[in-house]
């Protein structure tokens, strides 16, 4: 990959007696679209605010191009932020908002005007320069906020749940557009969200956080297909999580049966947990599968049915386009590659 741009080393942050970050280690690369994903209160926004310079870490280092910057005030950093509620200056018009940063740098007025025009064009707001920002729609305000940040040509753009306040349709549209803008300007985006779908569809790298700690770092496919623990598996997508034992490499036991799998590197007979994604499970005749159960519920979800199958030990969730009536006995079939083995977590 590219060069390392930002390194977070052992970051901790305490607010009063509460520890909100418990040792964050993270490398962020040039031109990367990285998402900090987690439930509210997991420390993702605090991490972003430390990179922006609004908070100082209680301990640890923030390196930018190899130089420690954790004590540097925000206005001396080569990063810009898009705020959750946009934070547009209500007493300035669209063009004045976008030109604010360049104005502070005493850039020539005609140059500012040209750059503002270019930015307006990029975010699809041509001709909006003289408008009152408070009269714009949410989506338009969002575009102004992005333009206002990007005009300063930062090395990194920080986005704090920027689509949170938009309705579903505009949010989808903005996701595509943000990704396009990122590729166009070719800089690093650090994106904070609690929406797993948003994270998976936009990012190069997803960092899953919980409780002030990083749970997993990986590409969207890695995070989805190979969750490292129960938290990640549960937070991203829906899943069946089953306790089991890793008998040896490529062989796992759960629910009283042994299954071939593709996982290795665990200790023999290590207690583990297995993830089975609902869409990886097939419903077959009882005779064709080891695990059997009774259909307890079936819900039509549009593209697929969500079927709950009760076995002796638990209830499995299956997403399938096949129909199965309630009360029927069925078998659950899945292949070795559908079994994802993860380390067992104590506390969840």
């Amino acid at each position: 990959m590219m060069n390392k741009l930002i390194e977070l080393k052992n970051l901790t942050k305490n607010f009063d007696d509460q520890q909100v970050l418990r040792g964050i280690n993270l490398d962020i690369y040039e031109k990367e679209f990285l998402t900090l994903l987690g439930p509210s209160g997991c420390g993702k926004t605090t991490t972003l605010r430390i990179i922006a310079g609004f908070e100082e870490p209680s301990d640890g280092e923030v390196l930018f191009n190899g130089i420690e910057i954790s004590k540097l005030p925000p206005y001396k950093r080569e990063v810009n932020t898009v705020f959750q509620k946009y934070a547009l200056f209500p007493h300035l018009n669209v063009a004045e908002n976008i030109g604010f940063g360049l104005n502070l740098k005493k850039v020539d007025k005609t140059v500012i005007a040209q750059k503002v025009e270019r930015m307006l064009k990029m975010v699809g707001l041509e001709g909006f320069g003289k408008r009152d920002v408070t009269l714009l729609s949410g989506g338009q305000q969002q575009r102004v906020a992005i333009a206002r940040a990007l005009i300063n040509e930062p090395k990194v753009l920080l986005l704090d749940e920027p689509l949170g306040a938009l309705d579903a349709k505009i949010r989808k549209q903005m996701q595509v557009e943000l990704k396009k803008i990122q590729q166009e300007v070719g800089i690093t985006f650090i994106y904070v969200t609690h929406d797993q779908e948003e994270a998976l569809s936009m990012s190069d790298t997803v960092v899953v956080m919980n409780n002030g700690e990083i749970q997993q770092i990986g590409s969207p496919t890695d995070i989805y297909n190979e969750p490292e623990n129960r938290f990640v598996a549960g937070f991203i997508g829906e899943s069946n999580i089953i306790e089991g034992t890793m008998i040896r490499d490529y062989l796992v036991a759960f629910d009283g049966f042994e299954f071939e799998c593709v996982d290795k590197g665990f200790e023999d007979n290590e207690e583990i947990e297995v993830v089975l994604r609902p869409e990886d499970l097939d419903i077959v005749d009882p005779g064709q599968a080891k695990i059997r159960g009774i259909v307890r519920n079936i819900t039509f979800k549009g593209v697929h049915y969500e079927i709950l199958i009760e076995t002796e030990l638990r209830t499995y969730m299956v997403h399938t386009t096949d129909y199965a009536e309630v009360g029927r006995e069925v078998g659950l079939k899945f292949g070795p590659e559908d079994i994802h083995v993860m380390c067992k977590m104590g506390s969840y």
Partner: protein
């Protein structure tokens, strides 16, 4: 229901009538020909004419205006900085601090006046415009502080962060973003403070020097020698001025939303 609302209307009318009758009387008699405020003998502007030629009265008016404007400006600076400062600290004693800073509004004026007089005497300050200015500033600051504080509380803290993020140092962020946004509160608070300064008698009497007179003091001392319709004329003018300030104030506070 209808009977009920008619009674409510009558009650309201009565209260307003009692409240504003004296004011109406003063206004009407300021245009009276006769010196005696008993019978309206004919329309005349002679009391206004006399007022304009009353040098002592005009001097007192000028003094009051200078004092009002100065104390208003000084308190605007102190009150605004105070409110901004209070909004940025997160001490446990913050509540007490806020209470202390608006305490002059709650201390009886007569006590505040006496205390200030004793204090200035101790400091050996010559009683006059300076002591008046300090005295008025003491009770003007809380008005501005409260208005600005309320305005700041409703302001998104991300706005100033955004300014700092875009390259503004703390001073520029305040000057370019915070100050313009709290300006309506600074102005409306100042107008309120100005109105309070213009009509203050109690504190002014205590901290005033022997040679200086403000308008309210002048009116008050004239009362002892007997009311002339000239006072009515003065009151009418001041009422009109107050009304104008009030209208400007409500226009500004309305625009805030």
């Amino acid at each position: 229901m209808k009977k009920n609302s008619r009674f409510a209307g009558f009650y309201m009318g009565l209260i307003f009538f009692l409240m504003y009758l004296p004011i109406a009387v003063v206004i009407v008699f300021s245009f009276n020909e006769s010196k005696l405020p008993v019978k309206f003998t004919g329309f005349s502007l002679k009391w206004y004419q006399e007022l304009i030629h009353d040098r002592a009265m005009l001097e007192a008016l000028v003094n009051s205006l200078i004092l009002g404007v100065l104390s208003c400006l000084v308190s605007a600076v102190i009150g605004t900085l105070g409110a901004v400062g209070l909004s940025r600290i997160h001490w446990k004693s913050k509540g007490a601090l806020e209470y202390i800073s608006i305490l002059p509004l709650m201390i009886p004026e007569i006590i505040l006046g006496m205390v200030l007089m004793a204090f200035f005497y101790m400091l050996n300050l010559p009683f006059g415009m300076l002591t008046l200015l300090i005295g008025h500033t003491v009770f003007c600051v809380p008005y501005i502080l409260m208005e600005v504080k309320a305005r700041l509380a409703g302001m998104d803290p991300a706005l100033e962060e955004a300014a700092r993020d875009l390259g503004a140092g703390p001073f520029r962020a305040f000057w370019d973003i915070t100050l313009p946004l709290i300006m309506p509160a600074v102005i409306s608070g100042s107008l309120l403070a100005f109105a309070m300064s213009m009509d203050d008698v109690v504190i002014s009497i205590f901290v005033n020097g022997p040679r200086l007179s403000t308008l309210p003091i002048k009116v008050y001392t004239q009362l002892k020698t007997g009311v002339t319709p000239e006072i009515n004329a003065l009151c009418t003018i001041l009422l009109a001025a107050t009304l104008i300030i009030f209208i400007v104030y409500s226009l500004i506070t309305k625009k805030k939303k």
